[in-house]
């Protein structure tokens, strides 16, 4: 994580960028420890805690909404610092043998290992990013892997969709035919358009109508609908007249 090093020293505005560079409070702590050239074995807790809190304070002043975990960690660190600085009552010392600094250290060691492992995974060539298997373009899910996850996702998808349908009662009427004609005209020059291009204004109802038009056109084999992931832009790809080749002739018509 090189960029935070640079932005930290350059003042406050670029700092906005840097908070996003951390996966979480442990990541930020690791960065601070490294920056102070401590090793995990001989971390001096006080300066690290102070710097962490300074970081939080600056974020607060810049009105950055911090994930709850960052604030939880801040309160934990304040507690930790007070425990280190204050003389412990005799009774407590006997009762509680845990070493909070060691606990924090263990947490950081474990997280650093995860980070390293994630880095080594990410460095491997990945199927569907670096290489693509034969027939990688299918949208259908292979279910012979003995996983129920796709079923659970399906349930979530139904719930999400039906709730939306209840909420979005549209007073305005849209003509699917009109929207389909518009999509067709957009296809005159290009074979790939964004769904949003077929939307009039930015009303939710219009967006839904455009999506329904796209689904209808997909059903009629006039377009292919593509989306790279949840919430990613939806693209419509122009489809040539019906072909029946070896591939997957029957996609569910009710998708």
């Amino acid at each position: 994580m090189e960029e935070p090093v640079a932005v930290w020293d350059r003042g406050e505005t670029p700092f906005v960028v840097s908070i996003q560079a951390f996966e979480g409070p442990l990541d930020l702590l690791l960065y601070l420890i490294e920056r102070n050239r401590f090793t995990l074995q001989d971390v001096q807790v006080s300066p690290i805690v102070d710097q962490y809190l300074a970081y939080m304070e600056r974020a607060r002043r810049l009105d950055i909404s911090l994930a709850g975990e960052f604030l939880d960690m801040a309160s934990y660190l304040i507690w930790l610092k007070s425990r280190i600085l204050l003389p412990k009552p005799e009774a407590l010392q006997v009762e509680d043998e845990s070493d909070p600094v060691q606990e924090l250290r263990d947490m950081l060691v474990a997280y650093r290992a995860v980070k390293a492992a994630a880095g080594s995974l990410g460095a491997r060539p990945m199927l569907y990013w670096d290489t693509f298997p034969r027939g990688a373009d299918t949208d259908e899910r292979e279910i012979t892997r003995a996983s129920i996850a796709p079923l659970l996702e399906a349930v979530a998808a139904i719930r999400l969709r039906t709730r939306k349908m209840v909420m979005d009662v549209m007073p305005k009427r849209y003509s699917l035919r009109e929207i389909m004609a518009k999509i067709q005209s957009l296809f005159a020059r290009r074979s790939r358009i964004r769904l949003l291009e077929a939307v009039e204004g930015m009303e939710k109802g219009s967006l839904i109508a455009a999506l329904m038009a796209a689904l209808e056109m997909s059903r009629l084999n006039m377009v292919r609908i593509a989306q790279k992931g949840l919430f990613a832009p939806i693209f419509l790809l122009k489809r040539a007249p019906v072909v029946h080749a070896a591939g997957s002739p029957e996609q569910g018509e009710d998708e």
């Binding site: 027939g135 349930v155 139904i158």
Partner: protein, 178 residues
């Protein structure tokens, strides 16, 4: 990197037909005629190096296929069951709801489910029972495929809220877990 190599990679990654439109979009400046020439070239290489596949012409594009003489072997491969998201939804409704009619499934999903149902019946994941009204239930093969001993092994819907619940669906995906 030559156009020929790229065309080969593109046709290769399609499960069915690779549309000429798509090739032209990705390799602007390459016309349909040139693509055809490239495909002919590739097929000549496959032929002369003894490959067991070749590129076939299809209505609006090209498609990779094994040569017919290998069909007796290829046919013995068990093709994995692939389901559309719609079919998975129907399957989930039947699994959680138990034996139910198509009307019930349609009502829960808010869309027509008939073609998905057909797909599921064809894959023998769903059994049909009764006549009036017809009811659908998950089959023994369903349990096998999903690695379940019985339907009671399915997690309680409230249990998977931790991942698929409302908050998780709220679109915080980009930040990846913060």
């Amino acid at each position: 990197m030559t156009n020929r190599e790229i065309v080969e990679a593109l046709v290769f990654s399609c499960s069915g037909v690779c549309h000429v439109d798509d090739i032209e979009r990705i390799l602007p400046g390459l016309g349909a005629d040139e693509i055809e020439k490239i495909v002919d070239d590739l097929n000549r290489v496959y032929e002369s190096t003894g490959r067991s596949f070749r590129i076939q012409r299809a209505a609006s594009g090209y498609l990779f296929a094994t040569k017919p003489e290998y069909a007796p072997f290829v046919r013995q491969l068990v093709s994995p069951v692939r389901l559309s998201n719609a079919a998975l939804e129907v399957l989930a409704v039947i699994a959680y709801k138990g034996p139910c009619t198509r009307q019930t499934i349609d009502r829960i999903r808010g869309v027509d489910s008939s073609s998905s149902l057909k797909q599921l019946i064809r894959h023998q994941l769903v059994d049909v029972r009764g006549t009036k009204p017809m009811t659908y239930s998950t089959s023994k093969k369903f349990l096998e495929v999903f690695g379940l001993a019985s339907l009671s092994d399915l997690p309680d819907i409230t249990q998977f809220e931790e991942v698929f619940g409302d908050e998780a669906c709220g679109g915080r995906d980009a930040s990846g877990g913060q």
